[in-house]
């Protein structure tokens, strides 16, 4: 990933303007730059981390919320032996453009979608070279028998879990790492007031869709909008202290499973319009005396 990301500045111009090693003066001099040096400078500028590490980090960031390698199904399939099940060419196409295959009538994609409760793989913005690296990483892990990620053990939530989950959802109990509450962007049945957020989907039926893998998916959410936020402040799983935020939230959502999605009323815009009317009335009242200048009062005093 090049460091220079300005759309309109080609990195080679940056090199041309940089002083040469040994130069006493700052001298734009592309001509004097030996060819090999230009190349090595270019590499230095766009130095990327080693591909294997990069692929591992990418897997953790983008894939692990729904997949394991060798630890069983989560929201999506276990990716062990992926290279043996399907040609890399197909997998790469699917990883880089899931919607294209899912909507394009690809038979394998359609079967997978049915098998996994209609949960679509999100658009993760993975480039073809990144997909290649990921597939290579999965092959390597398969070959070496390395297990990546873990499928969660299924635990039956109790009333306490559900209550804590609801508090985390609405924000009354802050997420340990300071991330925004679910309510910021999501709604669910039974939320009072103006309801939940609408940037993301209503989560009332999320468990039906994601199945028992939901808690696992929340650990490292790869949903594009959540990724950036929760990479910095992930939900906390701390077995020693009995903290399991993903499980609690999933437990709360599971408790809503049989209910219809939250009603969408117009309370919020109505309050806005009432406030507007009140504001205008107040403004008009406060400005009543505006056309009477101070002069009149001063004259009266004379």
């Amino acid at each position: 990933m090049p460091i220079i990301k300005f759309g309109f500045i080609d990195p080679k111009y940056i090199i041309a303007l940089a002083p040469l090693p040994g130069d006493n003066v700052f001298l734009p001099s592309l001509k004097r730059l030996p060819h090999g040096m230009a190349l090595s400078w270019a590499l230095a500028i766009s130095a990327a981390p080693a591909p294997a590490q990069e692929a591992e980090a990418q897997f953790k960031r983008s894939c692990m919320s729904c997949h394991t390698i060798g630890a069983g199904k989560k929201v999506g399939p276990d990716l062990k032996d992926l290279g043996k099940r399907r040609p890399h060419e197909w997998s790469a196409r699917f990883i880089t453009n899931p919607a294209g295959l899912l909507d394009g009538g690809d038979p394998i994609a359609a079967t997978l979608l049915r098998e996994y409760n209609g949960v679509r793989m999100p658009e993760l913005g993975i480039t073809p070279p990144q997909a290649e690296a990921l597939l290579k990483y999965i092959d390597e892990c398969t070959a070496k028998g390395v297990v990546v990620g873990k499928a969660r053990e299924i635990r039956i939530p109790n009333v306490q879990d559900i209550r804590i989950g609801r508090e985390l959802f609405t924000g009354e109990r802050r997420l340990k790492n300071g991330g925004p509450s679910c309510l910021s962007c999501h709604s669910a049945q039974g939320i009072g007031g103006f309801g939940g957020g609408r940037l993301g989907p209503d989560l009332t039926g999320a468990t039906a869709k994601f199945g028992p893998g939901l808690a696992g998916a929340l650990e490292t959410p790869a949903f594009p909008t959540m990724q950036g936020v929760f990479a910095k402040s992930p939900l906390v799983v701390d077995d020693k202290n009995g903290i399991d935020e993903p499980f609690w939230i999933a437990a709360y959502l599971q408790s809503l499973n049989a209910q219809p999605p939250a009603k969408r009323d117009a309370a919020y815009p109505v309050v806005g319009i009432l406030g507007l009317a009140a504001g205008m009335l107040l403004g008009g009242r406060m400005g009543r005396k505006r056309l009477r200048g101070v002069r009149k009062n001063l004259k009266a005093q004379r």
Partner: protein, 224 residues
Amino acid sequence: MLEAFLFVGYPYAALVLAVVVGILRFTWRPFSYSSLSSQFLENKQLFWGSGLWHWGILWVLAGHFVAFLVPDWILAWNAKPLRLYLLEASGLIMALLALMGIISLMVRRATSPRVKAVTTVMDWVLLAFLLLQVYTGIDTALRYRWGSSWYASNAVPYLRSLLMLSPKPEFIRPLPWMAKVHLLSGLSVILLLPFSRLVHVLVVPIWYYWRKPQVVIWNRRGLR
């Protein structure tokens, strides 16, 4: 490529131009740093237009600014749903007041012959962008709730990354296009700042609040 242009190149271009041209204008034409008030020409509609607009937009802007400086405070405040609703409702009310204000200012500029006579193309460009800015903001607030939270968690990291000179447009990539138009029109308003009468925001005469009152005599003939 388009992303790099719109959300990396354009913000820097707008900011750099705003600062550089702003300084040049201040040194070359200091007396042009003004809102070029048209209050003498028309004062009745101006009361509603300007009053509602400034009251509304200054609060909304202050909200954006506070969330930019201390996003964690906003998230902590929003942790109680009631407080979140309070913040969102006040934001919406202020934005609607600003919307009424800007529409009223536009109607005034289009209908009052005296104000029309001193109106330039740039005034209309500026008003159009301000209207777009307020409209897209309200639309985003209504359709993609709750913006105060996800502005603090998603958009502020992007804005800060711009100021830290390591732009990370990926933070806002998944946001709805309406929010992106809001961001772009906001940047356009910053870009227009030194080229229009909007520069007056940089020279608000707040000292009027504590200076001694003066009686200004407009017209001697009126006095006996």
